[in-house]
Symmetry: C2
Subunit: 204 residues, 2 copies
């Protein structure tokens, strides 16, 4: 299970990130543990407390997340990509601290895409079940279905932007057959249970 945001550094003190608390992935890890799985939680800096009884691997950037998740999925049957990795990073990281009124600070910042962890690991998924998340603002079903196909997910939870950092918004679980089931998001523990009820690999 991956969880939390990642950080992409502009200099030694500033970074790009998002408001993910890690809660969703943490509840999924906890629920998977409850079902008897051996769980590895690869997590960015979470503001929600980590579960005590699963293996945890802390990461910072999206590149770190890729490396750690690639190692963690070896031999796994089931992977839930619940992290909210930063999709962009500053092309250059300034050593030290970018100073106000400096030439370096006036230079436009080029953003480059970070590696797509779920898509890259999807290429070699074999018989592993992969479940992902999508946060879509517009054209949401269309984008989430495309994301599920591109990343070879077996199911994807589609969230509105109001769900980052707190529940309460609308969400659907989409499956490759095109079905979309509305899911209650106000209780992330129950949502974790509902997702695993529908995606837990059986008969292996």
């Amino acid at each position: 299970v991956t969880a939390g945001p990642t950080r992409e550094w502009l200099d030694d003190v500033r970074y790009l990130t998002n408001a993910s608390t890690g809660r969703m992935g943490i509840e999924i890890a906890r629920e998977a543990r409850r079902r008897g799985a051996r769980v590895t939680l690869v997590h960015g800096p979470c503001s929600h407390p980590l579960p005590a009884d699963v293996e945890t691997v802390a990461v910072d950037s999206t590149a770190d997340l890729l490396r750690a998740t690639r190692a963690a999925v070896r031999g796994a049957d089931f992977v839930v990509f619940a992290a909210a990795p930063a999709d962009f990073r500053p092309a250059h990281r300034t050593a030290g601290k970018l100073k106000k009124r400096s030439r370096a600070a006036r230079r436009p910042l080029r953003l480059v895409e970070t590696p797509d962890v779920a898509a890259l690991l999807g290429r070699t998924k074999g018989r592993r079940v992969h479940v992902g998340f999508a946060l879509e603002v517009e054209d949401s079903f269309y984008n989430a279905l495309r994301k599920m196909r591109d990343k070879r997910f077996d199911a994807i939870l589609l969230n509105g932007p109001q769900n980052v950092g707190h529940g309460g918004g609308r969400a659907w679980l989409l499956t490759p057959d095109g079905r979309a089931e509305p899911m209650a998001t106000d209780d992330k523990r129950r949502l974790a249970k509902a997702i695993l009820d529908r995606t837990w690999p059986t008969g292996r």
Copy 2:
């Protein structure tokens, strides 16, 4: 007292920030309360629990921090600028979510400076005592002294970059007479007490 980081949004889910937990300002607010002061804590998103017995005002961006702090300092004797506001913000905030492989994402991001809260409020400080913080990577004493003068601080705590989010690094309290006193940073509660011991306004 101001505390915590601020967030400067690139789009509706991503922002620039820093790793400040808010702990330093929170401990200063707590210690000031212990000394009998009426305290207002203006804070960005803190990962450290807020004190229960002081007035708190939550803010998000540096512009919010300026507005709320400007209101909070009216009638105050003593202001500690312990927040770590983002000094730069994306010149434009994209509505929705910046999409990968989009033209908008390839466009260079222009960063602009956010308002300097301590410097702006320093201009009209009158008899208020202002204490600030500096996080300096290089030329640190020189930069911190200039910052103290530019922002009209009565004292400034100079930190190395290793102190963001956790103590343990080196720090000095500088005063306008040019003195620099080394301060222990491993216990932020004790550091808060030591700072207030040396800067608390008396005889007013």
